[in-house]
């Protein structure tokens, strides 16, 4: 199972990604949300390991942090990490979704210095939040805008042809979709229908490539080394069963 270039199921995304996050000491509740975000990524035809491995690496290397603060600025809110690190997308994504639930639709939200913006996008998608625009400029100065048009449809508008999963280190802005008319210049537009994309994924499985091995390695940290004693007694049945 640990090899690259596999086709996995959505249930395996849930199983392995939850535990991969837990493997870098993310609390289990956040780990579950992280896995559900990755299911949404996979349902829409992306390799979930592509952006998620970087986010887990950042936490493991202490380049990012789960520490988060919130401040209210007039009509907008602001999430940031008060440590001198990236704000981990694993924490940013759940906090954003929670904020969307408790805020009014006209409010704006800024999130500073997020390490993996597409994970924040995927959390919004996984929680079926619609009528929102998420925009950011990444470290390569590429502009991205994701519009959640309704529960079925979303789109990516970007100034770059680079995979959106790989964008990193960005200040993000979340606004009402209808209030936003700031389209990136030289845009590439890609539209998605969640139902159709999910159906395709259910019939074909989820392709994971070279980053999968890293996800599996973090997952493996949740496994307990087997000893002669635990092998003999931990599962309750004998080593040979004949009758």
């Amino acid at each position: 199972m640990s090899k690259s270039d596999l086709t996995i199921s959505l249930n395996e995304v849930l199983f392995y990604f939850t535990r991969a996050a837990f493997g870098v000491n993310v609390p289990i509740g956040l780990s579950e949300d992280f896995a559900y975000s990755n299911i949404w990524i996979a349902e829409n035809g992306f390799d979930p390991s592509l952006c998620s491995l970087e986010a887990l690496n950042n936490l493991d290397n202490q380049v990012s942090s789960l520490a988060i603060k919130f401040e209210k600025l007039n009509e907008s809110g602001h999430f940031f990490c008060h440590e001198d690190k990236f704000l981990s997308a694993l924490e940013a994504s759940v906090s954003v979704v929670d904020w969307i639930e408790v805020s009014t639709p006209t409010d704006e939200l800024k999130i500073s210095n997020v390490d993996a913006p597409f994970l924040v996008v995927s959390a919004i998608g996984a929680n079926q939040c619609s009528g929102l625009t998420v925009s950011w400029v990444d470290q390569d100065k590429s502009q991205y805008q994701v519009n959640f048009i309704d529960n079925e449809t979303w789109e990516i508008i970007s100034s770059s042809v680079n995979p959106i999963e790989l964008t990193s280190g960005a200040d993000m802005l979340i606004t009402s979709f209808y209030a936003n008319d700031n389209i990136p210049q030289g845009s590439n537009i890609k539209k998605f229908n969640v139902t159709k994309a999910t159906l395709k994924t259910l019939n074909n499985g989820v392709q994971v490539r070279e980053n999968w091995q890293g996800i599996y390695d973090y997952f493996s940290r949740c496994l307990v080394k087997s000893s002669a004693e635990s092998r003999a007694s931990g599962a309750g049945a004998g080593m040979v069963d004949t009758d």
Binding site: E32, T198, K225, G234, G236, G238, D243
Partner: protein, 580 residues
């Protein structure tokens, strides 16, 4: 009927409360009912007149090779692909860590091409070591019961029927040691098939695979006997064929599932408890039902006589059950005890007041049994598509009140005591085998599975008591992200009161076996045969109609079967009631 309709019955006076039902000792005394998932599947097969066919058998004289058995519903076909091989006896283990098996299987979504069979021939015998595709719905394996398998072949080859005592003591020819579905190892996700009519009830494809495996085992011994005995060989007689089930060996893997799907468990339990409440609330019994119940007591006595186990605790419970059924029969002979208003409620109360949990749960099953017309609709309410959501806008005061009102069973456990946190659950690196460890003895506490529901609620309650009421939950989890998991669980389960096991799952006296039996009974398993506190063998589909019998009028008359005979009385639920 929708789940909402079921909820209306929860407040019925005849409904047993969650604090009575969701206790480990009672859960560990469960029996299958007519709402169990195997029963539901067989009824559907009959109603829709499913067709069954062996479409391929390419095996050598020892039966090693590949076979395909298909089941066709009105709208599609499912195929069991079976690979068989010779394995050394000492390699035969029921554990997840096994490397080889007598037979390995996939349930294929459709009719497999030769290319599909070739692909699976390179993967299925490796089980967890292979990779599967969305076209595969189930992955499974089974080992022979060597003495029964050989005895049956030898007898049939000689033109004789097998030794019924031996057959009865085991109950099956092969024993499955894992049946995986729902996306395991690359197989199809449940979402791919969830909208299909025949997949709406829980675990229907897994249980279809098991049903076809049972047919495969019976077909195999008959074919091998013919190979060995030629013209002299005979087939199993109808009653013996029907008695033969398929075994299963179940370990800890089932317990985490139960704890990780609380909304689903609520729906299972509330359906069964609603069925019981509906029956108990009948003032004047439906004609013939009491008579059927009294006859079923006789049959169940024989069934229990044939339920032999090595485990001392279970053997004692079976012995008590035998005596209690006899005592109940005597009590029922006094007509004034049962021919009166609300007879089922009277019987239930008499049993609850006088007999063991094992007997109480057996009687629950028996009094529901004659009431198919009253309860079978509940089988449609036992699934869920709920994905638990975190509700950030819930006021903290509301969460505090919910914990106080609904989780007293957890907040009153003293987790400072060593015995209260004796155990932990973990996955071993050994093929991800789930294991149950003891703190201070086994390594791996740091990698504990998040299944300590009671302890987590207890810790949350303590933190909440130190937190001001004005705070929103969204703010609380930013400060204390370690509680996000348990808060989400509480938010999604407090309105589903039968979703939580109301006991300490880490306690020293905790027996995972109780969880296993509870879940297996909902599947429809019988003859629970504990091998330890962590492991049990069971029989599945014992007494169920064979494929060629699925359209017969008595297709639904197979609860608590006895060897060598079909049900000795007509039931109330299918066309055979005309025989009363």
């Amino acid at each position: 009927m929708t789940a909402d309709t079921v909820l209306l019955d929860i407040d019925s006076d005849f409904m047993r409360p969650p604090e009575q039902v969701m206790r480990l000792d009672r859960m560990g005394s469960s029996f299958p009912t007519r709402l169990s998932f195997m029963r539901t599947l067989i009824r559907r097969m009959s109603k829709e007149n499913w067709k069954f066919e062996r479409t391929l058998r390419e095996v050598d004289k020892d039966g090693h090779g590949v076979s395909v058995y298909s089941a066709s519903t009105p709208s599609r076909t499912y195929s069991l692909i079976a690979f068989t091989q010779e394995i050394p006896p000492e390699m035969r283990t029921d554990r997840v860590i096994a490397e080889v098996w007598d037979a390995t299987f996939n349930l294929f979504d459709g009719i497999p091409s030769q290319e599909d069979i070739d692909y699976l021939a390179n993967n299925t015998p490796k089980q967890e070591g292979g990779r599967y595709r969305p076209s595969e719905l189930v992955l499974a394996r089974a080992n022979k019961s060597l003495r029964v398998f050989e005895n049956v072949i030898a007898s049939l080859a000689e033109g004789a029927q097998p030794d019924l005592d031996l057959l009865s003591s085991v109950g099956y020819l092969m024993r499955t040691t894992a049946v995986y579905g729902s996306g395991k190892f690359g197989c199809a996700d449940r979402a791919k098939i969830a909208d299909r009519e025949e997949c709406r009830a829980p675990f229907q494809m897994e249980l279809l695979a098991v049903y076809l495996i049972r047919w495969f085992t019976i077909d195999s011994v008959e074919e091998l006997a013919k190979e060995r005995g030629g013209d002299k060989a005979v087939k199993l007689n109808t009653n013996t064929r029907q008695f033969i089930g398929v075994g299963n060996s179940t370990g800890l893997g089932m317990a985490p599932f139960l704890l990780k799907h609380p909304a689903l468990i609520h729906n299972w339990v509330v359906a069964k408890e609603t069925a019981l409440a509906r029956v108990r609330s009948i003032e004047t019994p439906i004609q013939g039902t009491l008579e059927v119940f009294l006859k079923s007591l006789l049959q169940v006595s024989q069934h229990v006589d044939e339920w032999n186990v090595d485990d001392d605790v279970q053997a004692h419970r079976i012995s008590c059950l035998t005596d209690e059924i006899q005592a109940l029969r005597i009590w029922c002979e006094d007509e004034s005890n049962i021919f009166r208003p609300y007879p089922w409620n009277g019987i239930y109360h008499y049993v609850e007041d006088n007999f063991s949990l094992e007997c109480q749960e057996m009687i629950v099953s028996l009094i529901i049994e004659p009431h198919g017309s009253l309860v079978d609709d509940l089988a449609d309410t036992m699934s869920t598509t709920l994905i638990p959501k975190f509700k950030a806008d819930m006021p903290l005061t509301e969460l505090k009140a919910i914990v106080k009102d609904c989780y007293q069973w957890a907040t009153t456990i003293d987790f400072s005591l060593e015995e209260s946190q004796h155990h932990f659950w973990y996955y071993s690196e050994d093929k991800l085998e789930p294991r149950f460890g003891s703190k201070g003895v086994d390594e791996g506490v740091e990698q504990e599975m998040p299944l300590a529901i009671g302890r987590d609620v207890h810790d949350l309650d303590e933190m909440l008591s130190e937190t001001k009421d004005e705070m929103l939950i969204a703010e609380f989890v930013m400060l204390y992200p370690q509680f996000r998991h348990i808060i989400r669980r509480i938010q999604n389960t407090f309105l589903r009161p039968y979703s939580e096991v109301q006991d300490n799952l880490l306690g020293e006296s905790m027996r995972p076996l109780d969880l296993l039996r509870f879940k297996l009974a909902f599947f429809g398993a019988s003859k629970f045969d504990p091998r330890s506190d962590l492991w049990t063998r069971i029989s599945m589909y014992q007494g169920a109609p064979m494929p060629e019998q699925i359209s017969e009028p008595n297709h639904d008359c197979w609860s608590f079967p006895i060897v060598g005979r079909s049900q000795s009385y007509p039931c109330m639920n299918c066309k055979c009631q005309k025989a009363i």
